[in-house]
């Protein structure tokens, strides 16, 4: 057993780090899909490449303002929050992702007991919830 194994974990810190990695991976995946390098993305935003590199490190404490700005620039959902008003926040993105695969329902529903959806499943979840309500 290593010393790392012997350290008792803290759930809050664990989830904090997990979410930060989720957000970074989501941004990295969008940039890769759009064929944008870190430098090109930095140029679009008028930022230094080091700033983008920081966002992709998995350990950046994003503000809601920064995430929202990146969502607008990238025209993609990076992070979503469960809300009673879910339908209203979803339509805009549904139109932009008409070919999103229909759902891995079980995985999506697993996330309903937390106040935060895993980012990569948001579009699928939204599409699923709409199809169920129609």
């Amino acid at each position: 057993m290593t010393r790392l194994d012997s350290i008792t974990d803290d759930k809050s810190i664990g989830r904090f780090v997990d979410k930060s990695f989720d957000i970074s991976d989501r941004i990295f995946e969008i940039l890769t899909r759009k064929g944008l390098s870190q430098r090109q993305f930095a140029d679009i935003l008028g930022k230094n490449e080091s700033e983008v590199s920081k966002w992709l490190s998995g350990t950046h404490n994003f503000t809601i303002k920064t995430i929202t700005h990146l969502e607008v620039i990238l025209e993609e959902v990076i992070m979503a929050v469960i809300s009673d008003n879910l339908d209203n926040i979803s339509f805009e993105y549904i139109d932009k992702n008409p070919t999103a695969e229909l759902v891995d329902c079980e995985n999506c529903l697993d996330n309903l007991n937390v106040p935060y959806l895993k980012t990569e499943r948001v579009n699928k979840f939204v599409e699923y919830s709409l199809s169920e309500s129609l």
Binding site: L4, I7, I13, D18, F28
Partner: protein, 154 residues
């Protein structure tokens, strides 16, 4: 001349972690670092490092997760007041060292971070030579090292 041994630290589906140990020491540098800073009261920072490593194990050691300091790599880039150094061989294998408390923007700003960064740079140089000479070889899947699992550095 100092002899530094590589020893397996952990292995998961996506990541093998080796650590380094000075020949004259019984404890490896990673555990020594964790013990020292845990006892010094950096508990939250150590827990962040624990979870940072767990995420590397879950996702692979992708290049963009690391801060590059010459040949060495460091993390976590943010959150923690501590920084741990490593050699990132590829997405599925890293060689972990110890580290120290961040004292500024660069490793050179702190005595311990600088020592860890310099050590990993020297180890990486010697390690690459051993790979070239086939004194150390990767397993077929790249997740294990075989051969002379040590390097000598001045």
């Amino acid at each position: 001349m100092k002899r530094i041994h590589f020893q397996k630290y952990s292995k998961n589906r996506k990541l093998s972690i080796y650590t380094v140990r000075f020949a004259e020491n019984t404890e490896n540098e990673t555990d020594s670092f964790l013990k020292k800073y845990w006892q010094a009261g950096f508990k939250e920072d150590i827990l962040i490092i624990k979870n940072w490593i767990r995420n590397l194990e879950d996702r692979g050691a992708k290049e963009h997760y690391f801060r590059h300091e010459r040949r060495a790599n460091a993390g976590p880039a943010h959150f923690s007041k501590l920084r741990i150094y490593c050699i990132r061989c590829h997405d599925n294998l890293i060689i972990l060292d110890g580290g120290g408390e961040k004292r500024g923007q660069t490793a050179q700003d702190g005595q311990e971070t600088n020592a860890a960064m310099e050590l990993m740079n020297a180890v990486d140089e010697a390690f690459v030579e051993k790979i070239k000479d086939r004194d150390i070889i990767y397993s077929f899947d790249g997740m294990d090292l075989f051969g002379e699992l040590f390097v000598d550095i001045s």
